[in-house]
Symmetry: C2
Subunit: 271 residues, 2 copies
DNA sequence: CAGTGGTCTAGACCACACT
DNA sequence: GTGTGGTCTAGACCACTGC
């Protein structure tokens, strides 16, 4: 009883689907892989997001409109949207509608940054000062190629920067981006831009970071980093390696940061 | 229209609630705080969990039974259970029922441990070797008292231990527990016990850890820790301070660990 | 006021586990 | 087969937003 009314094929469903609840034609084999209707709707919405039909910050069609479009009940669309909202891909706002999530909004800025001051809040330090040190195109070493899953000899853009909080240089990081998707990225663009880098990626390159994985270690500061962060060489620093993904688990950024943790910490909530 | 049929008071609802959907008597003030029915059901289930009516690993009543007990529809109970399952307080198993979550099951063991080997999986190293170094009762210093929110001069139990993976001592940690809740905890109990410590807490002390917060820093190894972890003094180590909570956000454990990260890392998924 | 998401209900049927 | 959770529908009403 899988693949109910028409929805198996990508694109809009059509045809006289009168018996929506898992009826349809007699399936010769009781397909072992069962995928509920709302999962298929979820996949369709995901496709629209990925294709750019609805961009970050956009209002998407109402539940009733989507229900009509996909020929399912409002409840089924609701469950699909619920899951997408739980994954932070959509944001629901009662009375207004459902919006595509974005890194550009004040209250969700720096969603992936886990560094917090030991005392006070992020806000109490004011906004971070950012200093872009370099931005260049290069042929990536093997580890970068592997981490980003690049084919052939695709170039990457490497960005180096330092973030300071309350005037103290605290984060030194390098990041690598696939060269094809980030063609026009320059030091000037980065330097002029205000707000989170991921917001820039959305507006300028149509790349929305959806989730990320981080590997954290403790390391000793090398000479170059010690200089950048104004700490003695050999000081313990937090090494944070992040891979950030767009829709469909496609890796789009590798980031290697070194954090001073003398007056900050990396915060994590375990559920 | 808040506090619908009877459910405001703790305990079982009763009385002739014929108009379940937010009707009831005329509320003189349009109570600004609105709490949907399923949230109230959720709170009632939470009370039963907290009171020990259903213990970790237990099968709780079916959705239909709970719906009858609380005089609401199955769908409302379902939504309440959905949220509790999302919080890892309950575990749903199709065809079998809904169970109280526990730290005793193989596939959820070490739920709060984020350390992973750089190569391979946790399993590939085999189980951790645990060495309990000390377990004693003491009057806590001020920082411990504050972190655990202890009243008056309540004593604490302090445990020190070392965890080794594949024979390499990797984690040295101390943990502090409220003395009243963990009265009979001894070094012998800990040494004899197999499996996660949080499982022991459930079975022996009726304390279930529900969530935790961690603050991670990079520090240099002091002499004592260097000895325990067999690294040079001054080596960079990951400092992990954890506060673990039971039901209702009551802190029940403070843990301070130092992790070697030469062949392991602290893994975190950002959504 | 109309339109949106949010809650609640009632009933039907499906997938899964155990007996 | 029986009982459990899981899906889907249809309809009603509530809460919030903005015209």
């Amino acid at each position: 009883m899988n693949t109910p009314p028409d929805l198996a094929a990508p694109g809009l469903p059509a045809g006289p689907s009168d018996a929506p609840t898992g009826v349809g034609a007699v399936t010769p084999i009781p397909t072992p892989a069962f995928s509920p209707l709302y999962q298929q709707i979820k996949a369709l919405i995901l496709q629209s997001l990925q294709a750019g039909e609805w961009k970050p910050g956009d209002l998407i069609p109402s539940e009733l409109e989507l229900a009509a479009r996909y020929k399912v009940s409002q409840g089924t669309v609701r469950k699909a949207i619920d899951e997408l909202a739980a994954d932070n891909l959509l944001v629901r706002r009662q009375g207004k509608g459902t919006f595509v999530a974005t890194h550009s909004e004040a209250h969700v800025q720096y969603r992936f940054l886990r560094l917090r001051p030991d005392e006070g809040t992020l806000d109490s330090e004011g906004p971070a000062q950012r200093q872009i040190i370099a931005c260049r195109r290069l042929r990536p070493p093997a580890d970068i190629t592997a981490a980003l899953g690049l084919r052939g000899g695709e170039a990457v853009v490497q960005v180096s920067r330092v973030l300071s909080f309350a005037g103290v240089p605290t984060i030194a990081e390098d990041l690598w981006l696939p060269g094809n998707a980030f063609k026009g990225l320059t030091l000037e663009t980065l330097a002029q831009h205000q707000g989170p880098m991921y917001a820039l990626f959305e507006t300028q390159f149509g790349v929305r970071m959806v989730r990320a994985e981080e590997k954290v270690k403790a390391v000793a500061a090398d000479a170059a980093t010690a200089e950048r962060l104004q700490v003695p060489e050999g000081s313990p620093l937090l090494s944070v390696e992040r891979i950030a993904y767009t829709y469909n688990d496609v890796p789009m950024e590798l980031r290697r940061g070194l954090y001073r943790t003398d007056s900050h910490h990396y915060r994590n909530d375990l559920n």
